[in-house]
């Protein structure tokens, strides 16, 4: 009681956020019971019949849902790999641009796409990549290639999704590596210099090892995204031609729920994703803590 008397301002300060979290995060969590129901909107939660694990059985038996899980996985894994390797390399190369003005200008340009939404970028890319005289296919035409159906062929679609994601995010993902580069002790380079090490040797034996811990953290933490193939992007780029290779869990849930009205099954698919992601996030944070002493709190 005494602590409450002293602490009430703190409790009061947390209260607004807590209320919002309860209403918009915790109450919906209770709604995952729908995944175990044959939910009918007109029957509601109390009267809809329980059906146990039927939705989950369907999830692993229906061909479309298996395909969707696979698509999600493959797209997400490719994104994770390239969004680690490209920024890592880019940061090291950018570090060699010594002219301050050039260095800053390059940074300014590459960070920009991160802040534009996939609605804007989707609208741009659909036009930019179109086979009907789109900018890229016109350029390919000049050198005698194409046309390439970037958004109209399943395999090209996956390629386009991964490349455009990396294009949008690599600059922003570089920041953390640039910060790590700035933190390397200059004495290391000076000593290497005295020993006559070439710049490549300095990179190989000082820069890359110094960046490894942060790369491990970034890589580990991205494990939680292994079923996150990027709803906003896919939703704004996909079409009926690439459904088989390009449909992912989140877009599948959206269509199943909002368009087809199959609430129970959609919730089950969503829950499958949430649970796997949660487990991976917990594991990855534990690993990041153990390997690199990384903590959020």
């Amino acid at each position: 009681m005494r602590t409450l008397r002293r602490n009430w301002p703190f409790h009061l300060m947390v209260l607004p956020a807590l209320l919002f979290l309860i209403v918009f995060n915790y109450v919906p969590m209770a709604g995952i019971t729908m995944a175990f129901m044959d939910y009918k909107p007109w029957l509601g939660f109390s009267k809809s019949p329980w059906i146990g694990l039927d939705h989950f059985r369907a999830l692993f038996e229906r061909e479309d849902s298996i395909q969707v899980i696979w698509n999600t996985f493959i797209i997400a894994v490719l994104k994770i790999i390239f969004n680690l390797v490209v920024p890592f390399t880019f940061a090291i190369l950018l570090n060699e641009v010594r002219k301050r003005f050039l260095n800053r200008s390059i940074q300014t340009l590459v960070y920009l796409p991160h802040f534009l939404s996939w609605v804007i970028l989707g609208g741009i890319l659909v036009n930019f990549l179109s086979t009907d005289g789109g900018f890229v296919n016109r350029m390919l035409g000049y050198i005698g290639l194409g046309p390439v159906f970037f958004l109209g062929d399943g395999n090209w679609f996956r390629f386009t999704v991964v490349v455009s994601e990396v294009w949008k995010e690599f600059g922003y993902s570089t920041i953390v590596f640039l910060a790590a580069l700035a933190g390397i002790n200059p004495a290391l380079y000076e000593a290497a210099e005295v020993d006559g090490a070439s710049r490549w040797k300095q990179t190989r034996y000082i820069t890359i090892p110094s960046l490894m811990p942060i790369a491990v953290v970034v890589g580990t933490l991205s494990l939680g995204n292994i079923l996150n193939a990027g709803f906003d992007q896919i939703f704004n780029l996909y079409n009926s031609l690439v459904m088989d290779k390009g449909d992912i869990i989140d877009t599948f849930v959206y269509r199943t729920a909002i368009i087809e009205g199959d609430f129970g099954f959609a919730t089950a698919v969503g829950l499958f994703k949430s649970v796997i992601s949660m487990i991976l996030i917990v594991i990855s944070y534990r690993l990041a803590y153990r390997w690199a002493n990384y903590r959020v709190f």
């Binding site: 979290l21 590459v110 600059g171």
Partner: protein, 292 residues
Amino acid sequence: MYHKTTPYRIFSVFNTTFLLILALACIIPLIHVFAVSFSAKSAADANIVGLWPVNFTVEAYKKTINNPIFLGSLWIAAKRTIIGTFVILFVASLAAYALSKEKEQFKGRSVYAWVFVFTMIFNGGLVPFYIVIQKLHLMDSFWVLVLPGAVNVWLTILLMNFFRGIPKELEEAAMIDGASQFGILFRIFLPLSLPALATLGLFAMVWHWNSWFDGLIYISHKEDYPLATYLQTVIITRDFSSLSFSQAEFDLLSQKTLNSAQIFIGALPILIVYPFLQKFFVKGLVIGSVKE
């Protein structure tokens, strides 16, 4: 000195050129859209526009800003961005201050912290959320664009870490002078945190401006869409019912130029705040990564 060696100089030239090309590749699509939006219909439809307008015209912009639904959605987007950002900062400041206290000072801090963090790693998914929104009668309301996003746990953590960097002595001195915790937050911590609040505010603004999915599923009338949702339906799903053309206009305008103009207007606020954003966000990421 490796800087002076010939191989390094050759590498340096190639490297700089390569990175410049890469950097240009990041904005070329945007420049292209800009060029198309100011080009004549004939040029746009013949696909001869590259990175510079062909037969410069502002017809597409004229049509766009005379479209009442576009203007309405622009207004709603501005409203949600301003109100939404204010709500996020207000809720986050209060919570971040309390959570920035040590366990010894604020018993229950860890419980709250876990309640906050758990929402980052697990969620109920689309359908239960949709039903909650329905039950709260938030469907088709402006507030559905603001309230569900009121707590941004990530920004709260960043702010909390920033508060932790403020010397404890300030708080202790204020307490001796009889200040309440609210007084300390509003008169000492928040004024000291203005740069951090500006950074987080810009992030919140970008997030609100770019949000489109909430408008798409919780709002049924096009007149009530925020700009991002409006653009999504017009440009991505190609729903042109909100536009009416006269024959004269039809001759002047093409879908391409019109879409490009709307896309460019949608991106413009981001491009305007971007220089400020860039100045801050490197710092912002650093705030977030410094522990204890």
